[in-house]
């Protein structure tokens, strides 16, 4: 009898990813086999948007080819199948972060999810939602707290909420290396604080923030918490119950899904007490010419025809990630991130932002090249097929705090190899000589 070695897929889920398996994973992503400027694409911009595996692309196509119908309305067979697929996707994404399906609201993106909460609070402040919406009312004398490292998406909606309601926006500062300074936190997070909104993993620094500590500070003063998990949910196991946050937002296209879909997680009792943001069809029970009654969450926040195919594709993305194993992805990207930071730090004239080599970070490194502007760095790398992000990465206040206007950022995902990181590092070493930087 022939001895057949077990297929790689039968390896225990705990086995860490390795280059050999990553090479196999890459075959699931058609775009990774393409060329840019005559060079094989080295995609190191997953922090901006990730690429899609075939299963995600097929899920969207299959929906349009075989099940396309409006969901939660109509009694015909297609409508039932579409609704089933749509709700199965909700269950998949909710399960992916250990939430219940009715705690997961679809949004267009994470930005909309944050705006949803901010506008719901604004509507509560305007008197909507009755007595049960009391927790969400903000006004003069109240504070809204964010951190200095936020993406603009988790800053500007709160600036606007403060401006609309008369509340004050305050922030937790970062130190010269970009780490959150918590020693004065109790002077910022006070009994006047209604909500604390902060990022789980910084899209610029790669830092993973101390969620437990911040949630404890918020709970002590009765403030709500909102976690921006755009850079964490795609890259490490996230459990909303273990994190104990009130709200969490995620972005579909950063976790192998399509654009146009994101989600808001909220504790069930909070979502059902919160006034709606967008209103219209599909979120109501009884409507008269004068007023309307609203459905329970999540539907009360999903007015109008929804992003059905995108939601279904995001469900497929969550399944792809689950099957690969989030602990394994986290470990692999930790390795890639460490290789990035160590390699970059060793190049003369490179300043890496965020935690020093040896300290925990996600697979992402933003850096400044002495004497060369980030745009020129990006152009130089692009010529070699390397895609990175350049600019302020939607975090102008953080860049200003660190004394910079623009940086270059390389960000990895499960499909990147150590060879790609090495190729990138070699290319970066050529930047200053090419531009004659002194």
């Amino acid at each position: 009898m022939a001895v057949v070695s077990p297929p790689v897929t039968l390896l225990p889920a705990e086995a860490p990813l390795a280059n050999a398996e990553v090479l196999r994973i890459r075959n699931d992503f058609p775009i990774l086999g393409t060329e840019v400027n005559g060079r094989p694409l080295v995609y190191l911009d997953s922090g901006a948007t990730s690429q899609n595996p075939v299963s995600v692309l097929e899920a969207e196509q299959e929906f349009y080819e075989q099940r396309n119908a409006a969901v939660h309305r109509g009694a015909h067979t297609l409508a039932v199948e579409a609704t089933d697929a749509y709700e199965a996707a909700r269950a998949a994404v909710a399960g992916f972060i250990n939430a219940r399906p009715d705690e997961l609201v679809w949004t267009s993106n994470a930005t909309e999810a944050i705006n949803l909460v901010a506008y719901a609070m604004s509507n509560a402040a305007a008197g909507r939602g009755g007595a049960q919406a009391e927790r969400f009312r903000v006004g003069p004398g109240d504070t809204i707290v964010v951190t200095e490292m936020e993406h603009h998406a988790n800053l500007i909606p709160w600036q606007e909420l403060a401006a609309r309601t008369g509340a004050e926006l305050r922030f937790l500062p970062v130190d010269d290396e970009g780490a959150l300074r918590l020693e004065g936190a109790t002077g910022v997070i006070t009994p006047a604080t209604k909500i604390l909104a902060f990022t789980h993993a910084s899209n610029v620094l790669g830092t993973i923030n101390p969620v437990a500590e911040l949630v404890r500070l918020a709970k002590e003063v009765g403030a709500l918490t909102l976690l921006d998990a755009c850079q964490s949910v795609p890259h490490l196991p996230v459990d909303v119950k273990a994190l104990d946050v009130d709200f969490l937002v995620l972005s579909g296209h950063k976790m192998l899904g399509p654009t146009g879909i994101g989600a808001l997680y909220g504790r069930s009792e909070l979502l059902n007490a919160m006034p709606p943001f967008l209103t219209g069809g599909s979120m109501i029970t009884t409507v008269t010419m004068e007023r309307a009654e609203y459905l329970p969450a999540p539907n009360r926040f999903e007015a109008g025809t929804q992003r059905i195919s995108q939601a279904i594709a995001l469900g497929a993305a969550a399944n792809y990630l689950s099957e690969t194993g989030m602990h394994r992805i986290e470990a692999w990207e930790g390795e890639l991130g460490a290789r990035l930071v160590e390699g970059l730090t060793a190049i003369e004239g490179i300043r890496v932002l965020g935690p020093r080599a040896g300290l925990p970070r996600i697979g992402l490194a933003a850096f400044d090249v002495a004497g060369v502007h980030a745009h020129d760095v990006g152009q130089f790398l692009d010529e070699q097929g390397i895609a990175v992000r350049v600019g302020h990465h939607c975090a102008q206040p953080l860049h200003r705090r660190l004394g910079l206007t623009a940086t270059t950022r390389a960000s990895t995902y499960l499909y990147n190899t150590t060879d790609e990181v090495d190729f990138f590092l070699e290319a970066v070493a050529g930047v200053r000589p090419f531009f004659g930087a002194r």
Binding site: D376, F434, F435
Partner: protein
């Protein structure tokens, strides 16, 4: 190194990006009217403040303060060399000529007789994302000439 990159970053551009003629805003001392313009590219954060003194229909002096990529800084430097001493109308004509080249996606080569060192930026027009970098100082001059006129 790839030829595309060398075509984009010609030596003249790299030199001007380091030397930066006209960098450092000058206070007006002599006669003439002053025009100033601040331009910002929100995509990358490049910015420039450019000051022009127009005296008797001539661009008497030009100075600027800016931060940005090699293309935008070199462009401001080349612009300074090219424009000082020109008739105002001639300056406007050159700005239009430069803009036409930049917007051409590589189809209109710059006339070195007309644009001098600025012809080195021809390669930029093939990179739509970088055209704004090259144009930043030129738009600032265009606006400051209008401001000096009013």
């Amino acid at each position: 190194m790839a030829t595309n990159l060398e075509q984009l970053y010609q030596q003249i551009i790299l030199d001007h990006a380091r030397e930066r003629h006209g960098s450092g805003l000058l206070e007006k001392t002599g006669p003439g009217s002053v025009g100033e313009s601040h331009q910002l590219n929100p995509v990358c954060g490049d910015e420039i403040t450019l000051r022009t003194v127009v005296d008797g229909g001539t661009v008497a002096s030009l100075s600027w303060d800016g931060a940005g990529c090699a293309i935008s800084m070199a462009s401001a430097s080349v612009l300074t060399d090219l424009m000082e001493g020109l008739e105002r109308d001639e300056a406007v004509r050159l700005i239009d000529a430069f803009r036409e080249v930049m917007r051409s996606r590589g189809t209109i080569p710059a006339d070195e007789e007309v644009l001098g060192d600025a012809a080195a930026f021809s390669g930029v027009s093939r990179y739509p994302a970088r055209v704004k970098c090259a144009m930043l100082a030129w738009v600032a001059l265009e606006e400051s000439l209008l401001a000096a006129n009013s």
